[in-house]
Subunit: 331 residues, 2 copies
């Protein structure tokens, strides 16, 4: 069977349908630039600031895509998700704006501010003990008791289609900026955003090549792309880029990345702090370390990128004041 018939988790039609569902609510983020960043990188740099998206990260796109596609009767019973981070906030906000309940399962030792924020966005937060309790078991019981629908953070076709709407915007905005050929660097965890953008660009801007960007020591996607099979990180904690750390690429997302993405870029995490500082200084946006890693690659590892323009997706900005202050010391 020819390659083009391989079933993809989301087709361009699925993505366009997700985009139509998102249209009344999504924030269409602009494409930012600064001659000062061009100077650092030695080429034109365009930045897609998804930190400006609702709840401060691209995750709202996937959450809205999945929740809005549910049968209304199913949706009314509510949503459940496992997350202590950006997915939690995206789901909570998207569910609340649909007027339906959401339950977020979080480890009891998650930062208090993340628990408080998720609750303030309208979710019920259920805490579990990482040492003694089984997260999946707790979630499955609550889901069954209440008839909730589980929405996974990346291995879900509707979530991938939602994140892909960011790629549709990049295609349009790059064309408006006269860019037909460039590397598109994407901060990569499980690969939902990366694979989604890749599918969108294959259809809408085939001269743009997506490349996943990860921190040193958590480069499961880069290694998986090299070996041709799913590789695992030795650990999933201990990085300032916590928002984009996952054990492995997703089962749905990896085949997409394998077919459509260029080689991964692996970045020392201290460069993320420098990129956060320049994003503050030149673009006036707030990035979290994991959300700055693609920009870090664009600015400080220009030898890994091809072409006279590079596009960096800045995936999120949920950072606390102490970490941001630390980044500003890089200026």
């Amino acid at each position: 069977m020819p390659d083009t018939l391989t079933p993809f988790p989301a087709s361009i039609d699925d993505i366009r349908a997700a985009n139509a569902r998102l249209d009344p609510v999504v924030r269409r983020t602009p494409l930012l630039s600064s001659p000062f960043l061009d100077e650092i990188a030695g080429r034109r740099v365009l930045v897609k600031p998804e930190c400006l998206q609702h709840t401060g990260s691209f995750k709202f796109r996937g959450a809205w895509s999945a929740i809005s596609a549910l049968d209304p009767d199913v949706r009314a019973k509510g949503i459940i998700a496992f997350s202590s981070g950006n997915h939690a906030q995206g789901i909570a906000h998207a569910a609340t704006r649909h007027g339906v309940p959401s339950v977020i399962i979080m480890p009891g030792n998650a930062p208090a501010v993340k628990i408080a924020n998720t609750r303030a966005l309208g979710a019920e937060v259920v805490l579990y003990d990482r040492e003694t309790e089984d997260r999946d078991e707790i979630g499955a019981k609550i889901a069954e008791d209440r008839g909730l629908t589980l929405i996974k953070p990346f291995d879900d076709p509707l979530v991938i289609a939602g994140q892909a709407t960011c790629g549709l915007e990049i295609a349009t905005q790059a064309a408006e900026a006269g860019v037909t050929s460039a590397d598109v660097l994407v901060c990569c965890g499980g690969g939902g955003l990366t694979s989604g953008i890749a599918i969108a660009l294959e259809a809408e801007a085939p001269g743009l090549r997506v490349r996943p960007v990860e921190p040193v020591g958590f480069d499961d996607v880069a290694r998986s792309l090299l070996s041709g099979r799913i590789e695992r990180n030795d650990r999933v904690s201990g990085s300032i880029c916590d928002a984009i750390i996952t054990p492995t690429p997703g089962e749905l997302t990896f085949p997409v990345m394998q077919r459509l993405c260029g080689p991964g870029v692996v970045v020392p995490e201290e460069l993320c702090l420098k990129a956060m500082a320049e994003a503050f200084n030149r673009l006036k946006i707030v990035l979290e370390p994991g959300g700055a890693i693609a920009l870090a690659a664009a600015l400080y590892m220009p030898e890994t990128v091809e072409g006279d323009t590079v596009i960096a997706v800045a995936s999120g900005g949920n950072v606390d004041a102490p970490m941001f202050t630390k980044a500003l010391a890089e200026l």
Copy 2:
């Protein structure tokens, strides 16, 4: 003669023409919001983040509007401006992108980083000694010698028309958000942005009422609106809101504000630091103190605002790391 025939510095047609000239280059800034800000203000808060504009403030709009309208032969000789701040950067960048020279006259004791940035944007910076030299004399001589065109920071019809394009966007975006009636709070110095937005909204969204916002001690516009004549500030330095401090409202901008704006709002400047912190935390944008003063009024002085929605224009983000770190301590 009826009021409606009073000649305005810029008509809605002038503004639409400026908008067409800006269209290929201006950054169309989104309208941001957060349920957390709505909670603080007790009403819906919409924020227009002009910190995301080229050079970090709305000033690029007016600069481009004025430079792009010049006769090409005149423009080719170059532009001159007096500014140590956001107007300087807007002019430098707009001139450079037109491929024409610019000269910016700055006091010799301006911060080194502002001088360096203005030069890096392509301008020639001429420094003068505030104590012993006459700025206007120096500028006039250079302008005459080289045939440069002076562009003033606010009392220029083409500059006002350029800033007004921000108002056209607010009109469209407010309608998309279902808002037909609201106070629009605008950070106000000489009144170019405030009067421009007011003219645009009078034509495009007459239910939106513009109100200038200034810091305590520098409330020349608020007092002028009350007394019906141009009032002067006692001093023009010593505020963290330096970007929006001018001695008096403009001669062109004041009559517009007088006819179209609601009462001024006067804000203690320490509230700007709190608003900067919340803009960081909830909107993921970087604001300078003067650029945050309208948001400060929206969040912390809700009793001065009318209606169930308030729109705050966040006019600029050119702030250094120490001042921003100080603001983050408010969280």
